[in-house]
């Protein structure tokens, strides 16, 4: 319960901080950090335009996409306090529930019969397919380290003792951050601010969405960032008491948003055909973590 509230709160400013960081880095003043939320509220008030090619699939796709992200959020714990949904193997559920959202956002894009949206859909399907093993190997190595198979138990049993385990946690944080970037189609893989449909991934999929539906899709994006931020925070939080943990949580989210903003400001987007290679690299980093976990748990004999 607590984690969901905190994630929703963090989602209100996460994307705003990214945008603000980017503006300041490029020498502009930039909008306030709550501007994305204001945008969504404005979208909720607007009417909608639907393409005449589309069917009911296009109408329900954003709803299911948002619902899947929202339910995935309920799985995330906060330190000692469980998520609303918590059971052995809940991270499998987490990955697959995000999968159903992805499925619908892809077929929603295909429903418009546009040449551009199909392009984005195809890329999204490919990249998320490559990103999935990285997440599962990473969670597998955490399960190996701690001996538990639910988010909450894993994170509360994760004691960062030796220097190796710190190195592992940093690498894990990197992988989670990159998965968040892939899930949200951000900079090294996709430029959300590009103006050319041919080079977009996520943005081109939602070209035809408007009004309430677009608002839902944007909100889901903000939530996703905060969800992955919360996972990364959980990696380090362990058993810290709430009065310290909650401020730390927001500090961490703001820091991550800042990092994302800096990456987006000072890095060029990869060429499309390099993206897949980059994502496969993530899986190998996860494998590295796995072997590190083997080392820590003393099974490497």
């Amino acid at each position: 319960m607590l984690s969901s509230l905190l994630i929703i709160l963090a989602a209100t400013f996460f994307t705003g901080i990214i945008i603000r960081t980017k503006s300041i880095a490029s020498g502009r003043k930039g909008p306030g950090i709550f501007q994305p939320v204001k945008d969504v509220i404005r979208l909720f008030r607007k009417g909608a335009v639907y393409s005449k090619t589309t069917s009911f699939v296009f109408q329900i796709a954003p709803t299911i996409y948002f619902a899947s992200v929202f339910v995935a959020m309920l799985v995330i714990p906060f330190g000692q306090s469980k998520g609303i949904i918590s059971f052995n193997g809940d991270f499998i559920f987490f990955a697959y529930i995000l999968g159903i959202g992805k499925f619908f956002s892809i077929i929603g894009a295909m429903d418009t019969g546009s040449s551009f949206e199909g392009m984005g859909a195809s890329r999204e399907a490919l990249y998320s397919m490559f990103a999935e093993p990285a997440f599962f190997i990473l969670m597998g190595s955490l399960a190996l380290l701690t001996g538990f198979t639910s988010f909450q138990e894993i994170f509360s049993a994760l004691h960062l003792g030796s220097s190796i385990s710190y190195a592992l946690a940093v690498m894990a944080a990197f992988v989670f951050l990159m998965i968040a970037m892939i899930e949200n189609s951000r900079m090294p893989l996709d430029d959300p601010k590009t103006h050319l449909e041919l080079t977009m991934v996520h943005e081109v999929m939602i070209l035809d969405n408007s009004g309430f539906d677009l608002g839902l899709i944007l909100t889901a994006g903000y939530l996703k960032f905060a969800i992955y931020g919360a996972i990364i925070f959980n990696l380090f939080s362990g058993t810290i008491a709430y009065q310290y943990a909650i401020p730390m949580f927001f500090g961490m989210q703001a820091f991550l948003a800042f990092v994302v903003g800096m990456i987006e400001s000072f890095m060029a987007r990869f060429r499309m055909n390099h993206n897949a290679q980059f994502i496969v690299v993530l899986s190998s980093v996860s494998l590295l973590i796995f072997f590190g976990a083997l080392l820590v748990s003393g099974k490497f004999i």
Binding site: V49, S51, T53, V57, D90, S114, S115, L144, F212
Partner: protein, 675 residues
Amino acid sequence: MNLVWGFIFVPLIAICLIPFLQLKGKAIAVYAAICFIAVLTSYVAFGALAGQNSELILAGSFITGSIRLQVDALSAWFLLIINFAFVTGGFYGLFYMNAYANQPKNLSLHGILFVLLYTTLTSLCAIQNSIVFLVAWEIMALSAFLSILFEHEKIATIKAGINYLIQSHVSIIFLMVGFIWVASKTGSYDFNDIRAYSFAQSNAVSLLLYLFFFIGFAIKAGFVPFHTWLPYAHPAAPAHISGIMSGILIKIGIFGILRMLLLINLDYITVGSIILTISLISGVYGVMLAILQHNLKKLLAYHSIENIGIIGIGIGLGCIGLGMNNPILSSLGFAGALLHTLNHSLFKSLLFFTAGNIYQATHTLDIEKLGGLVKKMPQTTVLFLIAALAICGLPPFNGFISEFILYTGLFGTIQNAYITSLIGIVFTIIGLTLIGGLAIMCFTKAFGVVFLGNPRHDFHSEVKEVSFYQLLPLYFIAAFIISIGLFPGFFLNALIKPVQLFTNLHQLPFVSFQGNGIETLASVSKASCILILLILVLIVIRKLVLQKKSITVSATWNCGYIAPTAKIQYSASSFVKTYSKLLGIVFLIFKKEKEVEGVFPVAAHLETHPYDKIEKWFIDYPINNFKSFMGRFLFFQNGKLQFYILYGIIFIITVISIPLIYDQIILFIEFLKLL
């Protein structure tokens, strides 16, 4: 006893009656026979699942010895799967076949074969005598072969049928070698003697014996590299037959593999590793090739190979769990495999039936020609979507449950495993996740291109939804799919007895999924319910919000281009272009290309045909080599009568002269023995 006579005579009567009845009568006879057997066998099967095995010994003949029939929990599970698929598939088939009402003779044969196929499939689950088993197996293979050939006027259908016929006989050869081996050593055909024999042998001998059975059954099940008949046979058959072939026929291979696992005493870690490796390759390779296919049914056929891989992964994990004395991995592995067998038979038959609807409406299965069917066939669209989500293993559908059970087993053992098995576990996890991701890609492509967007092709006849009765069984299957997804605990409970059969092999302390199965799945179903509730609430909110707003309908955004055609849409090939380029080394894609040339371009075209690399190296290459070798002896067959008479004379002289040199032959053999 009476049950058995009913089981034999009712189909027999139906088969004899069918040719003499009117069209409607044929349909009723076929379906009545199916329902009768279904009720009969379900009654026995439910008893066995509740813990009451039925066993019956028929006198048999002097060739076969006494014939033992036995329905234990494993048989019962498969019997129920078969029954459900045939009751729904048969009903669908009745209406699907309406389109061929002008071929009554063909329909009679088809009806007879359908009943025969069903009877033999159910009997295979119970027969415990190897000769009778092989006979039933042969009848099953032949009736499936003839069912595939329904549209025999097409050359592709004949080719696919003969391919199937040959490969299923290769399968029978392997089974025969296995059975004859045991029979020659023990002098009995009873399955129990296989067990007795294998317990007396060393592990290596048992393993070899098991591998014979495994290859025989794996050809039927469609494990890579024995899968090459599947992608031809499934598209060629009528929709209900392909649904049943994919849902049931290949599962009887899985049944055989599991049955032999129960009978043969093995080193379970070795066997588990072998099955796991083959299954991982099957799973990933099947879905990788599925993505490339342009023919909807062929795409589904490759997905069957993938799902057989997932089932095999479960069996492999179960065996490794047995070897490691790990009750969690063992029970969850076998439970995942058995549940996925049911799940796959549900969603795959649903997919094939909806593909059949599409074929009837449009007369094509070429994905690139379809599009926009959602507006013409909304019910088929929803049913296909449900099955597609289920096959991708997404919650809240049934595919997720079985994959989740496998994952739980994998992650649950990670802590207690040692380095070698850990590496196996990690590769299995990578494989399973890749399969899931690739399946999403494949079915977003299939669903998106076939049902969504604008029609890509101008069909001469009007495309319309099929009749309500034809859709009715599909709704049943869809409801079943969702109910497994939402209430998995019930089905896991039904699996306790079958799984116990396997854990008892090593006397593992298996206590009906307490602690890691039932409770977790209860939470999963709760979470799934939350998802559905949330979606419903959001839909209502959306409706309320949008009620007062202005809704405009306009053209799709095309960067300002205002006259888009259907051709401008993303096609199936373009959807997977990046993917096929990225993994190009694995694939074999034939291209026929005529490029645009000159100042005033003339017509150009590009055609691609994905081909199976394993088929090329494993089937085509050896056969071509063999053919070219045999070609060297073609001069014998020169068409001249004189030569043929000469061959006859040479043969006769050789036969006559054998007694003359008998002593020399004996001497030669003795000499060989000395060496």
